[in-house]
Symmetry: C2
Subunit: 79 residues, 2 copies
C-alpha cells in the first residue's frame, strides 16, 4: 500500500527558508510573489496492511518521527 | 492566487534521507515499511495573475530555482 504524508508548518510559525526563496526568486526577476512556505512530503510504501491499520500506523509514525507536532501539521493520503 | 509545487526525486535516483527514515522507523518498531522517499512542497502566493500566466510563471520558477530537473520532477497545482 502506498501513502503520501504531507508535513507543513503551522500558520504563524516563521519560515526563514521560504523567505530566502522569495528573495532568490525576486533576484531572478520573478516579481509579485507574496509568500512562499516550504513543506515536506514522504512517499511511503507499506507491506500487507488494511486501510485502517495503515492509517493508524502512519498517524503514529507522524506523531513520533515524521512531524514535529509543536510547529507542524501533517496530512495522510492513501494512494 | 495560491499554488502548491511538489518536487519529488525521479525514479532511480538514490534517496539516502529516505533510507535513513526507514532505519529510524524500524528502530521505533514500525516494521513492514518497504520504502520511504522524501520530497518537498512549496506553497506559493502570487499576486494579480490569470491562471495561464501563473502556470507559465511557476513552470519557469521550477526550471530555474525550485527543482533540480536533472534528478527531480515537479508538479504544479493551482489551489
Amino acid at each position: 500500500m502506498k501513502a503520501r504524508v504531507t508535513v507543513t508548518l503551522k500558520t504563524g510559525v516563521l519560515d526563514p527558508q521560504g523567505k530566502a526563496i522569495v528573495g532568490a526568486l525576486d533576484s531572478l526577476d520573478f516579481k509579485g510573489i507574496e509568500s512562499v512556505r516550504q513543506g515536506k512530503i514522504f512517499d511511503i510504501v507499506l507491506n500487507d496492511l488494511t486501510e485502517d491499520e495503515a492509517k493508524k500506523r502512519l498517524t503514529a509514525m507522524c506523531e513520533q518521527l515524521l512531524a514535529n507536532t509543536v510547529i507542524e501539521n501533517y496530512r495522510i493520503e492513501l494512494l
